[in-house]
Every structure is written in structure tokens, then in C-alpha cells.
Amino acid sequence: MDSVRYDGERRGHRVPIALKILIAGGFGAGKTTLVSALSEVRPLQTEEILTGAGIDTDDISGVETKSTTTVAMDFGRITINDDLQLYLFGTPGQDRFWFLWDELAFGALGAVVLADTRRLADCFPSIDYFEQRGIPFVVGVNCFDDSRRFSLEAVRKALDLDPDVPMVLCDARDRQSGKTVLISLVEHVARQRGEPVPTA
């Protein structure tokens, strides 16, 4: 049958594996900037639909009377090789869109939480979210030009981070810097699985 689901069988050509990585952090922390810096294509955008009332309905009449709106999702792509692609999803910045996080986080490899030292508290909800769900994450401390440089240890203390959560200073506008953050995330995921990736 042609409608079979993926079971490792590949007909004629290979279908790549796509891995999801979330880019989280408070409003203005540089999420979209980081996705743009890393994506091989200009960041793409799609929308997910929000409905005011419960979304568990297949009833047409229900849909007609509901106020419906959408929330934008920014994402970018990095092709590792023919078989492997990374998809970077910027998370919606507002708490009321948490339900969308669940969809984004489902099956995700891990997350980058961008911290802005001028508004450190803004990234607390993201850290809580990933901690509670056991999703591996690293904290990227985005170095804005006009922000005071803090020591990573001071930021770690302020965020009350577990000692094994990696922290990386980064510049969200810079591709190389963003790559370093992603590498630290993937290495962290591997370490958590007890199979550290050898450092090259």
C-alpha cells in the first residue's frame, strides 16, 4: 500500500530523518535572530490555529461560532547530510501560547534557552518548562552590545541551574556562535544518554 506509515522501508529513494530543536527564551532574547543566523534558508513561517473555545470538536457549527486566530511559527533548516536535517523552531514568546510548545516539544531532540542578562527572569518559564518535561536544554547567554557582561557562574546562580546544564556565551546574530550553542546541546544530549560524543 502506498499509504503505509514510515517503518524504515524506503521505496525508491531515502527519506531523511528530521530532528527538532527548540529555540526558547523571553521576548526579545534573540530567538528569531538565532534561527535566522543558523538557517540555510531564510527563516520560514507558518501558522498554527488558535481557537478560543476547546479545540476538541469536529462539529462544523462549533467552528463557525468560534473566534479563530493564528499564531506564527518561525522555523529554520540545517541540512547535515542527505539523510539528516535539523529543524529549528522559535517558540512563541507568550505564556498563553504554551499549548503550542507541547506540539513543538513533542519528539524534540532538545532546546536552547536564550537568556538576556538585562532581563534574566524572562527565561525562567522556558527553563521550568524543559526541566519539568525532562527535555535536554542548554542556556545560551546572548551577549547584547549594550549589556553588562556577567560571569557565567553568576548567571547560573541567578537561574538556579543544575550544574550539568551547559551554559554558553553567544551572539545570536553570529552563525559560528550559534553553531557552538547547537553543538553544546547535541553533546549534552549524548552525555545524558551516557554515550558522550567524542570531542574532535
Binding site: 530523518i17 501558522e47 490555529i49 478560543g52 462544523i60 540545517i78 547535515i80 547530510n81
Partner: protein
């Protein structure tokens, strides 16, 4: 404009939310696909040389999806390409799946994370970029 909407302001509607739309018109009001499992990064592949003329009930958007899916495109890219909300695209893909016009290739699950070889390939690939 949203601010000119009649009636009481809805809590979801403001400048941070998108425009008010009737996104499910295209799906005849259906908000759930006929089958689950269209993950955002699930790859959709079209059946080779599909006979779309045999399905007059399909919308132009269905046909575009078959065309775009081609040799394999993730759900989220199809939605971006078609400029339709992901929820709508999932319903349309369900229609195509039930007609055997597309196949869906699920990504690995979190509980079944990629093996170390894959993680190593990701790190090596990122270093090489």
C-alpha cells in the same frame, strides 16, 4: 483590522495574535485529520505519478500538496509553502493519506532518540558548516 472587529474583544485577539480567519473553510469545517501522526517534521512523500483526475472531490490545495510533497517534504514546510496553517494542512494530508496519494514518514520519537551515530553525525555536520 482586528481593532475594528464588532462585538466584545476576545482574549485571543490582539496585535500579537494573527488575523482573524476562517481557516477551516477549506476543510469543510473539519478540524482533525482522518488520522493522527502528522508531526511537524514528518516527511510526506507523494505517490509517484498519482492519478489526481480520479479524485474530482479534491481541492486545488490538495493537488498542490501532492505536487509539493514530491520526493519528500516535512509537514511544516508544506504549510509554509502553501501559506496555510499547519492544522489545515494536516486535515488535507489526512484526505490524501486515506486515498493512498501520499505516504507519511514519522520522525524518531523522543522516547526513542536518535542513536549515538546520528548525534555524532549532527555534531560533525555542524562543525563542518
Amino acid at each position: 483590522m482586528r481593532t475594528d472587529l464588532p462585538g466584545p474583544r476576545h482574549e485571543w485577539l490582539d496585535d500579537d495574535a494573527g488575523p482573524v480567519v476562517r481557516p477551516y473553510t477549506l476543510t469543510g469545517g473539519r478540524v482533525h485529520p482522518s488520522s493522527d501522526g502528522f508531526d511537524l517534521v514528518a516527511y510526506v512523500t507523494a505517490k509517484p505519478d498519482p492519478d489526481l483526475a480520479a479524485y474530482p472531490e479534491l481541492h486545488p490545495e490538495h493537488r498542490l500538496l501532492v505536487e509539493l510533497a514530491g520526493r519528500g517534504t516535512p509537514v511544516v514546510e508544506l504549510a509554509a509553502d502553501l501559506d496555510l496553517a499547519v492544522g489545515v494542512v494536516r486535515v488535507l494530508l489526512g484526505d490524501l493519506l486515506s486515498r493512498g496519494l501520499v505516504a507519511v514518514h514519522q520522525p524518531p520519537r523522543a522516547t526513542y532518540l536518535p542513536d549515538n551515530d546520528i548525534l555524532k553525525a549532527v555534531v560533525d555536520g555542524l562543525r563542518a558548516l
